[in-house]
Symmetry: C2
Subunit: 361 residues, 2 copies
């Protein structure tokens, strides 16, 4: 059985599968890629039990067959091929791979891998790039620690009006809202690691969507994937977003971010990486103090609000993470010294971030 296919397509698809499939596992079958020739396509698939991934590439044969190969080695070989076209010849126990002057024989693995199943029809769809944007904008705010359970995922709210993505670790929150129907309904939580893989696969065009059996299924480009959902109750985040503010400032986000970054060099890593921000007279003064000394810097801001000044302290990393997705001007709204501050993008009202200040030291 001989199939010809473009090297770049095969290499791209194998890179994606190689990323998901574990390199070592107590179940060696999990490290394999399943190949199936069917309906004029080569289907390649793999799973890490959190994500099922399948890719389809059109080939020039109507032959059929099912085989298994070590995902990592196959991917490495294909990536290194010299030519633009690859010839795959499936023999009894070997796969011969030819490309340009290169010729290799990979041992087929004698294992019966289960066929992954995907929905026959998808209920909804969303622009793939926009879906990725929503996930990327909030990913940073997920929790890292094992015990934080549901906080380690990204909540996605699908509805006939909008797509919303939310992440929080209890000390900060990120939120992205896009006013477009997704054709499906439901609120789910995706594990952060699966979100990272999903974002890499969402390139252009449409992403078809389906929710069933505690999984989100997505079809995008050459890929179909199932992502297992997280179980648990995501907190009522709307309730904690403040709506009344004492002081509000607007400024160029790059200027503020650069200042915080420079000053934070002196911040004390053992004390929450604390930076202090003091707003008064149309200026924001950023200060940090640590073992080696003290740094400060002031930038001009547009200031509004009922109070004439406010002093707040943050974990520098949390503040910088919240500012980084913003482009152009940022609006910072301070609700108090210990209550959450809001950051929004003036040019992109879809994005909102919240950071809880540090207690006065």
């Amino acid at each position: 059985m001989i199939a010809h296919l473009p090297k770049k397509k095969l290499a791209d698809v194998l890179s994606s599968i190689e990323r998901i499939v574990p390199n070592r596992n107590s179940n060696p079958n999990l490290t394999l890629v399943r190949l199936e020739l069917k309906d004029g396509h080569l289907y390649l698939s793999g799973s890490n039990l959190e994500i099922d991934l399948q890719a389809a590439i059109a080939v020039d044969t109507s032959d059929t067959g099912i085989w298994a190969l070590p995902a990592q080695v196959f991917s490495q070989v294909v990536r290194a091929l010299p030519g633009e076209l690859v010839e795959l010849s499936f023999e009894a126990t070997e796969l011969e791979i030819k490309s340009g002057s290169y010729d290799t024989k990979l041992q087929l693995i004698d294992a019966e891998l289960p066929e992954l199943t995907f929905p026959d029809a998808f209920a909804g769809a969303f622009d793939a790039k926009k879906f990725a944007r929503g996930l990327e904008h909030v990913r940073y705010a997920t929790a890292v620690a094992e015990y934080q359970a549901i906080f380690r995922g990204v909540r996605v709210e699908f509805s006939d009006r909008a797509l919303r993505t939310i992440a929080t670790d209890g000390f900060r929150l990120a939120y992205y809202h896009q006013e477009e129907p997704s054709g499906i309904d439901g609120a789910i939580v995706l594990p952060a690691r699966s979100v990272d893989e999903l974002v890499k696969l969402l390139e252009s065009g449409e992403a078809s969507l389906s929710l069933a059996d505690n999984r989100l299924s997505v079809a995008t480009g050459p890929y179909k994937l199932n992502v297992n959902l997280m179980e648990g109750n995501f907190p009522d985040y709307q309730r904690v977003i403040p709506s009344e503010f004492l002081v509000t400032i607007t400024c160029d986000v790059k200027k503020l971010l650069d200042s915080v970054q420079r000053v934070a060099v002196m911040a004390d890593r053992t004390a929450n990486n604390r930076v202090d921000i003091f707003i008064a007279d149309g200026a924001a003064q950023v200060t940090a103090e640590g073992t080696y000394g003290r740094a400060q810097e002031a930038i001009e801001v547009m200031q509004e609000g009922s109070e004439s000044e406010i002093a707040v302290a943050y974990n520098a990393d949390y503040l910088m993470n919240a500012l980084k997705p913003v482009q152009g001007d940022v609006k910072l709204s301070f609700s108090g010294v210990t209550s959450p501050s809001l950051m929004t993008s003036v040019q992109d009202p879809s994005y909102l971030a919240m950071v809880v200040p540090l207690r006065a030291g």
Copy 2:
């Protein structure tokens, strides 16, 4: 005491010192940078006991003084500065650093660091870039294991006719010969780690050279450095370079390198990463076999010599390392199945590499 100096110069010099000075050490003074204002210059210096490094930057003050700062923090602060000019104000216990809207106070460290000493006059000189090129071409062939002692360094031969650099680990050898006088005489061995730092500091212009007290002293750009020499007998490498060959081939080095790289994907890492090369009928066939299968590729070569064919095996990494410094065409000369093979660059006769083949498996 106030000094002004260009941010970029100060940041560059501090990066070099930060690289050399240890980040942590049982002797905390070693983690510091010594600052001295003298003769209208700021002298910055640090040491790791293997390399002494000093840099000089012209400043706009004739004040004098000596201070100490943690090298890493000072470097980090300066790198992050917003402006193009830096103002350093030395006070009793603090150094105030101002640049643009940024203002920081770093605690000075109360430590008396020894003044590093460098030769008053340098006996010789060599083009800095060429000196770096000589070191870079052979660095890869140094040994890694602790017990290999003198093999862990690069031998440098200075004479009134040429500069030669040599490295070997007993299984391969690299050699670079430049027909230019260096003005000093002697054969030394520099530790590989010091070679890496030296190469980074050698940018352009001339490198002044001196040999004394078991140290090589170099002045290059804003830097002066002393590098401690290794002690021990470097083997008589000339004796092991073969001069008679059974087969010689010439080919485009990139083609050969790419083939070896592709085929080596299948090589067995637990068996010296072995690749086999078979030369016959004006072609080089590269083959590797491992747990997952077998790969082969053939490229055309220009073949000469008394024998009509030869089969040799190498560690793929050793072979690739030896070929990488070559640009254009490479000439491979095979002296036998178990005796060393020579690789030379057709366009740059300065370079020569030798690799000992693996024994037939």
